[in-house]
């Protein structure tokens, strides 16, 4: 890999990654007396696949929740597109263009796949209530545009055949894919994936990996993901943050991280002194 400069770097497979989209500076998050995240800093750059890994209870999900606004850290700042982000509610963060999926899948079970994906575009709709109810003017144009964008994503993730199926009836692997589709529909500037491969079999994992790479390649989407499966992470990501007990113990390319002694200790379980 080439030198990392403030503006760009080139990945192992030859893609040029842009400047910083999001920067976490000295983030500390506490729940009462428990410190979930301790003074962590790292950045996410335009167009890269950034992974956060670590053993159980390392604080990975907490970190993702800080980025997506579900938690507000006690200390430290989040910079988004060069500006300091004030404490926000999750829905405000979503409207800024940060979409996410959940470890335990949060879909609208009663709605069809198509309707679920359409909700991803809710904050792209600007037409007034009456215009929408009468189906005239701006509302009609918007609906057509949004439908097109959604159909494109549905085709891309190969879920055309289940478009009209209620989500509650789908198997686990497909639900995960619908959730990804909904997040993508928002055309996010950062896509956060919380354990996208959790609970999947080998075949489903391969499919999901392919989709993540394709999304990044086709739409140029910046992706930050949390994952347990080391093999998957090392194949997918451009740069990796490693966390253990709420602290950052490694940050770099997969190769750098793999050879980091602290990381090896954390994963192999060396006694802490």
């Amino acid at each position: 890999m080439n030198q990392i400069t403030p503006d760009s770097y080139v990945t192992a497979d030859g893609r040029t990654i842009g400047g910083t989209v999001m920067e976490m500076k000295n983030i500390t998050l506490r729940f009462g007396g428990v410190v979930a995240i301790k003074d962590i800093s790292f950045d996410i750059r335009q167009g890269e696949i950034r992974a956060i890994i670590g053993p159980n209870g390392a604080g990975k999900s907490s970190m993702l929740n800080v980025i997506s606004g579900f938690y507000n850290p006690q200390e430290g700042d989040v910079f988004y597109k060069g500006q300091k982000r004030p404490p926000m509610r999750p829905y405000q963060v979503a409207r800024l263009g940060i979409a996410r999926t959940f470890q335990n899948i949060a879909l609208f079970e009663g709605m069809s796949v198509l309707d679920n994906v359409m909700t991803g575009r809710l904050h792209h709709m600007k037409a007034g209530l009456f215009s929408q109810a009468l189906w005239k003017g701006r509302a009609e144009r918007e609906e057509v545009e949004n439908r097109e964008a959604v159909e494109k994503i549905i085709d891309f993730l190969e879920i055309q055949s289940i478009r009209k199926t209620p989500v509650g009836r789908l198997p686990y692997g497909l639900k995960k894919r619908v959730e990804l589709a909904r997040a993508l529909a928002a055309e996010p500037s950062i896509l956060l994936l919380d354990e996208p491969m959790a609970g999947m079999n080998v075949e489903e994992k391969e499919d999901m990996s392919r989709f993540i790479l394709d999304v990044n390649d086709e739409f140029g989407t910046t992706i930050a993901l949390i994952e347990h499966d080391m093999g998957v992470v090392m194949d997918l990501s451009d740069r990796v943050v490693v966390m253990d007990y709420g602290k950052k113990i490694g940050d770099g390319t997969p190769d750098e991280v793999r050879n980091n002694q602290d990381v090896i200790d954390a994963y192999l379980g060396v006694a802490h002194d």
Binding site: S68, F70, R89, P90, Y91, Q92, A94, R95, A99, R100, T101, F102, A106, L107, F108, E109, G110, M111, D115, M118, T119, G120, L122, H123, M125, A127, L129, Q132, A133, W135, R182, A183, A186
Partner: protein
């Protein structure tokens, strides 16, 4: 045609009309329950409160007049003006939206994620609070509400049926108007829920809070909106019932009639509330007509509840409710 059958038809029609009014009240319950999982015990009191406010505004009554007079020894009773019905309805709607905001801000914002029973208890508190505020604001005497809806026997139906059967049906104009308005209201609600951005957001929140947040939906906005819509439904029900039988405390008890309607139709279904309301309305009128004389009458008081009880035994989710499936 036998006389009994003709009377029965008239009873049936009147039952349908009464059912529409039950359905109107039940609709308010369904809306809030669907979107927030709260069983709103205060829905009936909201109808009473909206009707009181409407009368108060129309007659230019001073809010909290009695209270002010008692404290300061003044003698104010009214502003001395009369607000036209349409403007008064708009103003009342404004009050109901303000109420919705207050309910969300001061009651339910701090109760997010609590057990359903706690949310239910909160609505009981809300019901008594609102009842008290209604009394203090507008006084507790029985008021007459007249927003210009036609009342009395419908002459056309009376004459037509007299020509056909030799017996004129008594159908109240107010009931006909109520039916038309209820139909329009339901159509508007369906369009709102299915085709607008705000309606989609409402359905999304009803389904999954976390997922709704992650696509940029503000939960408190949706809840204020749902309580406002429920307030609007309460206002419509309040106008209909208030015109029919005067604005008084017993108006809040129509909520009790909505309970069997909900058990029949299911707590989560808008069509269920309508069909349930119609079944209860027709059922209790026909039952009173057919069986009432044999048991000494007054069956309307209990018929709906017995029917609901039967439903609870054989189909607990109601006619249209979501089927309850527990996976183990």
């Amino acid at each position: 045609m036998p006389e009994q059958l003709i009377f029965g038809m008239e009873v049936f029609l009147n039952g349908l009309m009464a059912g529409v009014l039950y359905a109107l009240v039940a609709l308010g319950f369904v809306l809030i329950y669907k979107a927030s999982g709260i069983f709103n015990y205060a829905q009936g009191v909201m109808a009473l409160f909206s009707a009181l406010t409407l009368v108060g505004i129309m007659e230019g009554q001073v809010p909290f007049g009695h209270l002010v007079n008692a404290i300061f020894g003044t003698e104010i009773h009214g502003f001395g003006w009369h607000v036209p019905a349409f403007a008064a309805i708009l103003l009342t709607m404004g009050v109901m939206i303000l109420l919705a905001w207050c309910v969300q801000r001061f009651v339910f914002r701090d109760l997010v994620g609590q057990e359903p029973i706690i949310l239910f208890m909160a609505t009981i508190g809300l019901a008594y609070f609102l009842e008290g505020v209604g009394d203090l604001m507008w006084g507790s005497e029985i008021k007459k509400l007249d927003v210009g809806l036609p009342q009395g026997i419908n002459a056309v139906i009376d004459e037509t049926t007299f020509e056909w059967f030799g017996y004129g049906f008594f159908i109240d104009n107010l009931d006909i108007v109520a039916t038309i308005i209820a139909a329009l209201l339901v159509a508007a609600l369906v369009v709102f829920a299915q085709y607008t951005k705000q309606g989609r957001a409402m359905r999304a929140v009803a389904d999954d809070h976390q997922a709704a947040l992650s696509v940029g939906i503000s939960l408190s906005f949706v809840w204020v909106m749902v309580w406002s819509v429920a307030g609007f439904v309460a206002l419509v029900a309040g106008i209909m019932w208030g015109t029919k039988s005067g604005v008084q405390f017993s108006l809040s008890l129509i909520a009790l009639k909505a309970l069997p309607v909900l058990m029949l139709g299911g707590f989560t279904s808008i069509p269920g509330a309508i069909v349930g309301g119609l079944i209860i309305g027709v059922g209790e009128k026909l039952f009173e007509f057919a069986v009432g004389p044999l048991v000494g009458g007054a069956t309307e008081n209990w018929f709906a509840y017995v029917l609901a009880l039967v439903f609870l035994v054989f189909r607990p989710q109601g006619l249209f409710g979501e089927k309850i499936i527990e996976r183990v």
